[in-house]
């Protein structure tokens, strides 16, 4: 470009910026007539003018600042005073802080998001860490205390303050010998195994995140990029694609660098690097000064350094520093320890240890002088092949493996403590392994003649095999039945889970007697199943059994017992026994306050449930208060984006809707919808709930178009996720019928009511209280068509159901009575109609101020009835009441 040309550009640019953006193009086209190059240049400059990169909005020195964060030292955040900065992490800084509210003194680590990094995504990840910590209760994992917002609006949380050193530095400073190093490593493995059993993958294991306290205890830190195993790993690819800048490449497994894929296996690889470093003093690959791509290439394609590949000078120094002889060290490095590290560091994820427990076991074996176990290569090989062919099925396989981890760790513990039984228990563990191996064998194409086997079919085959196999090993059989049933439930295949879990329960009762932890655990799963299936009667029986077991196993307050009361209260609420639900819920709440303190997740749950009981009992104001109280605790402990917080929002919407505060209700609902989509995706059962809520509220506001749109979404999602016969679908079909009825679309309404009625009639009788609603809808349609005697049948059944399943003063009974009365007035059955209306009115009398729209309907029907009966006095009385209400 020439100077002249640039001058021309400058002139036109300066003119263009003075006129309205919308007119600039026309202006320039005119000015640049024919010179399209000039025009393009100007347009691109004007576009650039609209989108200035951050760097040019500031000045140079600010962009190069080392620390862009305001210093918090000495500042007060919530109840904490900041003492000093301890660390700078990827998204936040960690400070040492002191609780300073005078109640009690406690030093904590306070983690706060960095200024300028508080984008939605970072905040989500930050809150995620908090949620994950809240899930983990283990002596070797830093405990979460509480959290909130800093005065300038950044999220923070506090956790246990750990004074100690990274594991490698600790070992060196304390001159630990190899055995002591391995012992520490076993503690680390045990802790990671615990996290895995809780479906949490750490993803960033390195000495800097594995601390040893001054008294020699392992403390695992920084779950900042950890993820839950039982959900889609959408973020992980971002972790790497956005520049690898969150992972620590030196400790990352090859697949983490390649695709961001993190799994149990990548944690095992990282533990392998840590073990290698603890033993040899350096990492298995020299990656100094290498780019991410180079690192990925090296660790994927080259073999790690051998432990034994070490020069004499280095090993002599090492021996001196660890108070060991050179000969011992040399022997160690040539031993099975080499095999163990090599196995953990295998570039092929499928060829590493399958579980952390297997890693642990091999290391234990080595330390006990036993041969390290040659891992069953065929099962790994098969899983690997299986996983390659069925990318979608992998999550199922992971869930399955997690449960197997649980099982084998149980046996590993047995192995360690009961030497005499060791042989038998090892036998059991290997039987489980061979059973699992059998499952994957089926998935081999050779066995299935090339047919594609889905993950679900794989499980089905496993379940089928179990019916005939292992009859002489009831304990293992029960454990496997339990495992597979849980996987089925996680996948929403309730019908398949039921026989398995029942058989497991029977076997375990037979083996261990009734009052036993394993029986209790099996009952929990069974209860979960019944609840999901809507079988509330069976659910109640199961929980009562669990409560009895808790009482016999523990004396006085116990979390299990509190949970039992809580669950029972909930079921009784579902069944309509509000008084019993209320008192059980209070029992649970008070026990939980004693056990966990007021500010705890459990107490927040109990308070929320109290709110639900109050709601069911039509005490809307106290319900509102309780939901708010629960919300406050949960937000404080869990952050904003948490399923339980969403639950509170939904509940608050519901109460406000019931109070006819629709604008407030709608804003709670749309908040919940947004959060659900963010947490679970657009097509999830949770999202369907939000759409259902929105639809109902819109309907009440007579915004039928919006209501219909939302309920259709809910139905579509439910059909996809829950299957076409699920009772929740019956619920939304019923509602869709209501909207059609309200918009006088009687034929469509009838179709949806009938769909709903069909599902309810085929469902568990404990859900029949809801059947009343579509029945009532059908009654209304028939009345509109003038078919009163047909309508009467539906309305009568609806009323009978409500009277049977609900407490006598519930307002929906009043509504059912009013509806039936309206119908039979047309059949000239005035006496019964009067009785019905009067008893409906007496229900409303007990709840003054609430449900005025329904109340007015009853009153209007009364006015009409007395007009028909020519009872002017009463007719006037009730119309006056209506006037007063309006």
């Amino acid at each position: 470009m020439t100077k002249d040309r640039w001058d021309k550009i400058q002139t036109l640019f300066e003119q263009a910026v003075t006129i309205e953006p919308a007119e600039r193009k026309t202006f320039l086209e005119q000015k640049c007539a024919g010179d399209s190059e000039l025009l393009d240049e100007l347009l691109s400059l004007l576009q650039a003018d609209e989108d200035i990169p951050d760097i040019l909005n500031g000045i140079a020195i600010d962009s190069l600042k080392l620390n862009e964060n305001p210093d918090l030292e000495g500042k007060q955040i919530g109840a904490y005073r900041i003492l000093k900065k301890i660390a700078d992490g990827g998204m936040g800084s960690v400070y040492l802080a002191e609780r300073s509210d005078g109640h009690f003194e406690r030093r904590v680590a306070l983690k706060v998001i960095k200024k300028g990094l508080d984008s939605e995504q970072v905040i989500r990840r930050f809150n995620r860490e908090r949620q994950i910590l809240a899930r983990l209760h283990h002596p070797n994992i830093a405990r979460l205390y509480d959290g909130g917002l800093t005065p300038d609006g950044r999220p923070y949380f506090t956790m246990e303050y750990i004074s100690g050193l990274p594991i490698n530095k600790y070992c060196d400073i304390h001159k630990l010998n190899t055995t002591l190093r391995l012992k520490l490593m076993l503690n680390v493995l045990e802790t990671i195994s615990y996290a895995h059993r809780n479906l949490i993958i750490h993803r960033d294991l390195k000495p800097g995140n594995i601390f040893v306290t001054d008294d020699g205890k392992i403390k695992l830190l920084d779950f900042g990029i950890a993820r839950l195993l039982d959900e889609k790993d959408e973020e992980s690819s971002q972790l790497t694609q956005a520049g690898h800048h969150i992972l620590t490449p030196e400790y990352a497994a090859p697949e983490q660098l390649k695709s961001g894929m993190a799994s149990i296996s990548s944690d095992i690889y990282q533990l392998g690097v840590v073990l290698f470093e603890l033993l040899k003093g350096n990492r298995p690959f020299d990656l100094t000064g290498k780019s991410i791509n180079e690192i990925e290439n090296i660790i994927s394609n080259r073999l790690p350094e051998k432990l034994s590949d070490i020069d004499l000078q280095k090993i002599s120094e090492m021996a001196h520093l660890r108070h060991q002889s050179v000969r011992d060290l040399k022997k160690l490095f040539k031993s099975d320890l080499e095999k163990i590290t090599a196995k953990a560091l295998n570039p092929e994820a499928g060829l590493r240890y399958l579980t952390v427990d297997a890693f642990f076991e091999d290391l234990t074996n080595f330390m006990d002088g036993k041969p390290v176990k040659a891992t069953n290569a065929t099962i790994i090989y098969r899983i690997k092949k299986y996983a390659k062919r069925h990318r979608m099925g992998l999550s199922v396989v992971s869930i399955l493996l997690i449960f197997i981890i649980g099982l084998s760790s149980f046996y590993t513990i047995q192995l360690a403590f009961e030497r005499d039984k060791a042989q038998a228990e090892a036998e059991k563990a290997s039987q489980i392994a061979s059973f699992m191996s059998g499952l994957f064998e089926i998935a081999d194409p050779g066995q299935t003649r090339g047919e594609d086997i889905s993950a679900l079919e794989l499980l089905d085959r496993g379940a089928k095999n179990l019916t005939s196999e292992l009859t002489d090993q009831p304990e293992i059989k029960a454990a496997l039945l339990y495992t597979i049933a849980n996987v089925y439930i996680n996948l929403g295949k309730y019908d398949r889970a039921e026989p398995l879990i029942k058989e497991s329960l029977a076997l375990r009762k037979n083996l261990f007697g009734i009052n036993n932890e394993e029986v209790s655990e099996t009952l929990s799963t069974l209860n979960k199943l019944y609840y999901e299936l809507g079988k509330y009667d069976s659910s109640e029986v199961t929980i009562r059994q669990k409560i009895e077991i808790s009482k016999s196993l523990h004396h006085g307050d116990h979390p299990d017992l509190a949970l039992g009361y809580n669950d029972l209260a909930w079921i009784l609420l579902e069944k309509g026994d509000y008084t019993a639900a209320d008192s059980l819920n209070n029992l649970s709440l008070n026990m939980r306050k004693r056990l966990f303190g007021y500010e705890s997740i459990d107490v927040a749950e109990s308070i929320n449930n109290q709110g639900s009981v109050q709601y069911a009992m039509s005490n809307l104001d106290s319900s509102l208060k309780l939901y708010r109280e629960s919300l406050e605790i949960r937000k404080k402990l869990l952050g904003n984006d948490h399923p339980l917080v969403i639950q509170n929002y939904g509940n608050l919407g519901l109460v406000n809707e019931e109070k006819e505060q629709y604008a407030v209700a709608d804003s709670f609902y749309s908040m919940a919808l947004k959060m659900n989509i963010r947490l679970y995706g657009p097509e999830s059962p949770q999202t369907a709930w939000s759409y259902q809520d929105i639809s109902r509220s819109k309907g009440k506001q007579k915004k039928y178009g919006e209501a219909l749109q939302a309920v259709r979404r809910a139905n579509m999602i439910r059909k996809k996720t829950l299957g076409k016969d699920h009772i929740l679908l019956a619920y939304t079909y019923d509602y869709q019928g209501d909207i059609f009825l309200l918009t006088e679309n009687l034929d469509s309404a009838a179709i949806y009511y009938n769909k709903s009625i069909d599902i309810y009639r085929n469902a568990d009788s404990s859900t029949w209280v809801y059947l009343a609603s579509p029945l009532k809808g059908m009654g209304s349609i028939l009345m509109k068509k003038g078919k009163y005697s047909e309508a009467e049948k539906y309305l009568r059944e609806a009323l009978t159901l409500r009277e049977k399943y609900l407490p006598p003063d519930n307002y929906v009974i009043a509504r059912a009575r009013t509806a039936l009365a309206k119908c039979i007035i047309n059949l000239k059955n005035y006496n019964e109609a009067e009785e019905l209306l009067q008893s409906a009115f007496s229900i409303y009398e007990k709840i003054p101020g609430e449900y005025n729209q329904s109340r007015i309907q009853t009153l209007e029907t009364l006015v009409n009835l007395y007009a028909l009966l020519r009872n002017k006095e009463k007719s006037l009385l009730y119309s006056n009441l209506i006037e007063n209400l309006k």
Binding site: M1, I61, D62, S63, L64, L66, G90, E250, L287, S291
Partner: protein, 192 residues
Amino acid sequence: MDNFANSENAVTLMLNQITEGQADVVDQLLPVVYDDLQKMAHNQLRRERADHTLNTTALVHEAYLKLVDQKNTNWKNRAHFFAICAQAMRRILINYAKSRLAEKRGSGEILATFNEDIFIRETRAEEMLILDEALDRLTQLNERQSKVVELRFFAGLTQEEIAEVLNVSVPTVRLDWRLARAWLSREIKKNL
């Protein structure tokens, strides 16, 4: 030379010579200003507490007060001094950005603490180098515009101060900055 150059009088003398048209004196003055500013900038960059935008401006003004004899100077000297400061600051900060990127490529230690924060800072450093090269190209097209960028972006001067240094009107500075900024934005996006 050192003793001579470090005194207030010497700087003021040199500024007077520049004002009188001895352009080559700039080459003598620049290293003096550079050394001084570098020390100050270094402290600024290492400092934990961030008061933001005022920093560079304060830096340059501080240098002016420190290096120039206030009694024997005039606004023309001041303008020249700022222009030299801006050049010096540009070199200092570009060197700083270069060393930061070299650090990233050379040391395993940085890699071990690879994090978002560092990533952002590295991106900034890369942007800075692209901007520096683009600014050289802009000088070929319109020297005044590139001076405006130097004075504003590297030395942190206000529009009024820039107008004074370049002896043009404030609206001219504003328009120069806007076009230069658009052009540089485009170059950064193209090359990053």
